[in-house]
Symmetry: C2
Subunit: 352 residues, 2 copies
Amino acid sequence: MPELRLDPVTGRWVLVATERARRPKDFAQQDAAAGKARPERSDTCPFCPGNEKQTPPEVFSFRRDGTGPDEPGWWVRGVPNKYPALTWEPTIQASTAGIFSVRPAIGAHEVIIESPLHNASPATMSYDEMAEVVRAYIHRYRALSEAPDIQYILVFRNHGRDAGASLEHPHSQIAAVPLVPPVVLEELVGAEHHHESTGRCVFCDMVQQEIESGVRIVLETPKFVALEPYASKMPFETWVLPKAHGPSFHELDPSSWHELARVLVDVLGAVNTGLHDPPYNYILHTAPPHERCDGFYHWHIEIFPKLTVAAGFEFGMGVYINITTPESAAEFLRNYIPGGPSGRNSGVQGQY
Amino acid sequence: MPELRLDPVTGRWVLVATERARRPKDFAQQDAAAGKARPERSDTCPFCPGNEKQTPPEVFSFRRDGTGPDEPGWWVRGVPNKYPALTWEPTIQASTAGIFSVRPAIGAHEVIIESPLHNASPATMSYDEMAEVVRAYIHRYRALSEAPDIQYILVFRNHGRDAGASLEHPHSQIAAVPLVPPVVLEELVGAEHHHESTGRCVFCDMVQQEIESGVRIVLETPKFVALEPYASKMPFETWVLPKAHGPSFHELDPSSWHELARVLVDVLGAVNTGLHDPPYNYILHTAPPHERCDGFYHWHIEIFPKLTVAAGFEFGMGVYINITTPESAAEFLRNYIPGGPSGRNSGVQGQY
């Protein structure tokens, strides 16, 4: 059903997926209950334990011994998206008519349910719980990257209705897509250009220069840094980067998973506390599984709190107006990091 | 104060303009008054007649004989944006530090107040009133394109708070910017490529192919067509294109201004009525004033009703998921065009 249509002017693809118009929306209830604490369980939530039959059969789960698929007993669970933007079973064929081209949107679109608790959130999870979410990302990334015709695996999270989440229960999404995304391609081209002209990775240069200046650093740990990028597109845009060069997230050594989880929890916790639980998106940027970019690409996670609205200027230009400097955003967020702000260098590192 | 920062990875510019955080917001009042008819005049609105001193001095106005600048008596009025994203007086110099580069955001950022009536809207204006807005766009476009260092003039409109409007009083914006926007550059590259391989303008091909098929046409008049593009990025995305080839909006013959105004009023009226006054953005796409693209570029206006939320998938991919086919959107909107839907070819044309 979903199809990829080619824009005849720009050559960009658009995904037309009318099935997604039928997604349930439980935020109406949430709004009605505004001010009330969110419950640990919701009878009507398809992601809550006991409601496993309301989702398609699970593709994996981390669960207690003695429990079976699509039963309670899991702590992280992966299921196909019931309203997918991509499918393995195409119902159309690639075709061209005049200047218009279409092809099937082949791929996978899955949900990773991050917790059995309806009211959990990465901002308030334990480090151990978040480490299991990281493990789930890597587990599922590896499985999907083996699939035929797949050019990229997108791992992302929408938090809050205004950031595009249709269900409140904490979940991430993972999409296996049959093209290298234009956003990633633009990074690859820029990073390769930097590598050709300097012999270095632009992200490694960024990490080093930012640690030296310190003004845009939110959190530094032995293996990771969280920073507000110099050319932040939006207020409080935050990137989490590994200090060690590595193109591919899924090749991260298991000994680093827990530290990454701690950084994510601490940074999302600072966003949640300092900015009063804003909607946000985060997106994993990693090398396409079949591209050679070992020397110049460097995986990272980009977090976008949704505090402003992109409008005509942004749509018409492709240039964002950011009304908050990344320096002031970093200074603000450091106050909400455990052990910060004075502990930015020594104190916070000491906890890791 | 505003500055352009270069993203060291992608080479994209970001505009950091902290002044804009101080913009007034009168939609809070509007929300409080939800359900009430909006008044023709608001004492606190800086764009209402009688409050001219609350804006910077006007740069032009269309006004009654015998009235002077910054007095009532105007029907369209242009003023500098009080919270500009670009200015003629740079307070910083271009500089580079390591991988980071910055330059002043030189240019103009103006507001075109479209009506003295606080509650007017292009969707409900008379054709004659909207024709004066079109005349104002062209008047101001021509003046700003003469300015030094200017590479592009962006004309756009934000309607409704969720589309980024901070003031309710009907207004458009015009920005003179010191770079060719990436969005426009992408169109130029694609259109030039099509021209090189076929000898034709891709927009002319689009107009012809769409008129022949009819399925995505919203409105056709002797000189213009309004259509849902084949690869619509969002539900009810609508483009207005002149049938005759022409790269530059500001060279449109005055004999066509009124017909363009009618098309805009009818299409925005259909959006307003059919979709219950949604927020929207529209953006003029026109050739950069100093680029040679006569043969292959074709100006047009892109309208984006804001009915869905771009989320992690769109941010991470640069590929939009559209949950409504452009064919069904066109069929729907035709019902709300005066004389439509049966009059799409003969009836509606007959009025022009």
